[in-house]
Amino acid sequence: MNKKYMVSFIAVFGLFLIAWAGVSIGLQWVFGVIIPYLAVLVFATGFVRRVLGWSRSAVPFAIPTTGGQAKSFPWIRHARFDCPDSRFDLWVRMALEILTFRSLFRNTRMKLSGGKLSYQLEIFLWVGALAFHYAFLTVILRHTRFFTEPVPWCVQLLENVDSFFRLEIIYPQFQFGLPAVYLSGIVLLAAVVYLALRRIVIPSVRYISLASDFFPLLLIFGIAFTGIMMRYVTKIDINAAKQLTMGLVTFHPTVPAGIGAIFYIHLFFVSVLLAYFPYSKLMHLAGVFLSPTRNMLASTRSYRHVNPWNYPVKVHTYEEYEEEFREKMVEAGLPVDKPLEASAEAAEKE
């Protein structure tokens, strides 16, 4: 049994117990109001501080990874978005990185068999990552319905699109599909399971994974799972839930009675994720914008990048060099700045 994912599992299960116990002894105010407020505060300040911390570090050199032919002669085709030479090309490169995970799309899998190496396209990580991130984004955007009144039309549109696929299974014993099934939730759960499984199953990925890699995955699993449970299985009073969330965002916090414990568990998981976010690898959300190998122009020979801390260094000057080798240079017929005569004449006079 791998200690790393067990530790994370126990941690998430512990969080579940804390929220559950807290709510059963009547700490609804703590879990419904105080902790969420604190979490948002920690998230916002932590996030800003981390990014400002990065921004305070200098970018001394332009070190883009050039992923294609650089701008060269007019008769050589320039790979604009892999080796950007203009701001526009750079923005496109960054947009493709951030929105489509383009570098990950290149991913190949190496295989060694019979002394021969082969590389094949390995698209699953890219698909899984894309599914995970976009599903999560959709879920988050959908949740604005709990934080706005009236609900903006674009959120309603998103809900309609997300639930376009009608799935209604009716057996009196097992009824599913009402309320309308949101695909994003299902995709999120599936993607999170895939991402966690590959960490457990693929030996090299298991070897590099830390507890802090499993923890957010399990936490997000917990969030998605409780969310789905609340919607389709152990239903809660949704209007009471919205009353609570609206209270939070309008700064009129209230804790209506009669919301099931599962709601508070869900909310607590989300709060923990928010507070954990700025202090973890999840900051790749902001970091991807600031990666110097991606966000810098590759026109490094045509524009000079300035290093803010460029300091003078000790160099071995030509004068020192000639001083040491003058005789040998003259003898070999190499030109020198100071001729030998002066020193030779001085020697003769003695």
Partner: protein, 548 residues
């Protein structure tokens, strides 16, 4: 040493990609012969004014570190986090997705999990978490943090000198995390406590004092070029006359000193000499060499940013002293990463030079308008494009050529089509290797970033295995017998790699191929190539092989 090296098949069979049972933090390192380079000569270290010059041996338990080495590393770490956003961001945002894992040639060739780029970076990241992050301090090992112990330091040294800073991992990383950057920082930190390798420190010291990595003194440098002049005369009937430190010349030419020192780089150097002679005779272009700035390469790059700057300073200084219009750079890998991404920032602006214009073709090298340094391959490509060279590619007909993209011009410069254009214009038979092994996805020769020593042959042969494998593919498919490149380290490293994995495949610099095809005014019948081999015989041999 060499006698202990495994046979190719044994080396391949030994690779298993299954990680060990124990967690990587709990797996002690085994500093194995054949995988590491010897510790630096204290004289070289002292020469450069680097700290803690003393004799030491990596296989002995005591590495003779300064008393407060932990503090030195901690402070150095902190300073670098502030100076390099790349370092700080890369320490923070890795999600350990594993996309980089099987992209590293050292991992592919050794199967050692600590050669996965992500884990190589984690070696530093674990200490970063412990020393500089709240979560690491709070949760310790559960959050992947560990204190910097002597064993951890040894692990850094061992694995940071098993990275050739090729940046292949960075291409595949969704956040562009560049292990080269992390390795550079790690090596800087190691240098602070006097942990370097001799194959880097001594060339750096040589380059600093004598102008080039090999420590060739000025008169010897001229002697060596004179040998080439004789050889060229013998093979072509034309006596070329290189210029040295000629004030007011049009162009200063700087190339790695490896090319004047050892085969097959020497043939590339002869190629340069012939090209310059041709341009002088035909068009009156004056190119000068310098013995002071006689090194294009920069092993300072493998030491620290400061050392890189100290060595690189000579290029602009010499160009300024000689009053040339612009600088032309020879075929070299890491040299071009330094010139392309560092030189102008470190030692520029080069406002005393002109924006490079090829006076023969009139082409303005817009791509080099600030740095004012042109790659000889793009220079030649421009000449060929404008039909300014008299070429007989048929002289290279006995060759079936493939091209090895060097890491640095590939992922640090985007230099792909120029060399292919040149090769395809001087050779009639050219075959590219499979797409996932060339251009931006190219594999390292296995000996880059200062790891081209003799004592770490097993590492070099393992790391070069993916490259050799791709060459084997085109050899089997098309009968390729020549591996062309534009890097002096390649010219030094690939022949050994080919001898080990694919005996019979030769290695050449691109300008050797150019010179073989180039017709000099007043030349003889050119019955041999630059290596002195009879072309008719080679042709017969090549045809015989194809017939079989």
């Amino acid at each position: 040493m060499a006698d202990k090296l495994l046979k190719p098949k044994e080396l391949i069979d030994r690779i298993g990609y299954q990680p060990p049972q124990t967690d990587w933090m709990d797996t002690p390192i085994d500093i194995r012969k054949g995988m590491y380079c010897y510790a630096s000569n204290p004289k070289s270290v002292a020469n450069l004014g680097f700290p803690n010059a003393r004799p030491w041996n990596p296989t002995e338990p005591d590495w003779k570190l300064p008393e407060n080495w932990q503090q030195i590393i901690h402070d150095g770490f902190k300073e670098r986090l502030e100076r390099f956003r790349s370092f700080k961001v890369f320490m923070d945002i890795c999600v350990r997705c594993g996309a980089c894992a099987d992209k590293c040639h050292y991992f592919i060739g050794t199967g050692d999990p600590k050669n996965m780029p992500v884990l190589r970076a984690e070696l530093l990241r674990s200490v970063y978490r412990n020393d500089f992050t709240r979560m690491g301090k709070l949760l310790g090992k559960a959050n992947g943090a560990r204190p910097l112990t002597l064993d951890v330091l040894k692990e850094w040294w061992y694995y940071l000198f098993q990275c050739s800073e090729c940046r292949r991992c960075s291409l595949f990383c969704p956040y562009g995390i560049d292990t080269a950057e992390i390795t550079m920082m790690g090596r800087e930190l190691l240098n602070l406590v006097g942990l370097n390798i001799d194959w880097i420190a001594t060339p750096v010291s040589n380059c600093y004092m004598n102008g080039n990595h090999l420590g060739i003194q000025p008169h010897a440098f001229k002697d060596m070029l004179d040998f080439f002049v004789d050889d060229i005369e013998e093979r072509t009937g034309v006596r070329v006359k290189p210029e040295y430190m000629k004030k007011g010349a049009d162009i200063l030419f700087i190339t790695p000193s490896g090319d004047v020192f050892a085969d097959p780089g020497t043939y590339t150097a002869m190629g340069y000499l012939m090209l310059f002679h041709y341009l002088k005779e035909k068009y009156g272009l004056e190119v000068t060499w310098s013995t002071y700035a006689s090194e294009g390469g920069n092993f300072g790059f493998f030491t620290s940013h400061e050392t890189m700057k100290r060595l690189n300073a000579k290029m602009y200084a010499e160009a300024k002293r000689l009053g040339v219009k612009w600088i032309l750079g020879g075929e070299c890998g890491h040299m071009w990463r330094v010139i392309n991404q560092y030189m102008d920032t470190m030692n520029g602006p080069a406002d005393f030079l002109d924006v490079p214009v090829n006076p023969i073709t009139g082409t303005r090298f817009e791509q080099a308008r600030s740095t004012k340094m042109v790659h000889i391959v793009e220079f030649t490509a421009d000449l060929i494009r404008n039909r300014k060279l008299d070429l007989t590619p048929a002289r290279n007909d006995y060759l079936k050529v493939t091209y090895h993209d060097s890491c640095n011009p590939s992922r640090g410069m985007g230099f792909f089509d120029e060399p292919r254009y040149v090769i395809q214009n001087v050779c009639n038979h050219f075959y590219d290797m499979p797409a996932s092994t060339i251009r931006e996805q190219t594999f390292c020769c296995g000996s880059g970033a200062g790891l081209n020593a003799g004592e770490n042959m097993e590492l070099r042969m393992s790391g070069g295995m993916p490259r050799a494998n791709a060459v084997k593919h085109v050899r089997d498919a098309h009968g390729v017998n020549m591996l062309a490149c534009i890097c002096a380290i390649d010219r030094a490293a690939l022949p050994a790699l080919m001898d080990y994995w694919l005996p019979g495949v030769q290695v050449a610099g691109t300008h050797e191929l150019v010179a073989n095809a180039l017709n000099l005014p007043g030349q003889n019948d050119r019955a041999t190539n630059l290596r002195g081999d009879d072309l008719e015989e080679l042709k017969a041999q090549a045809e015989g092989e194809t017939d079989e």
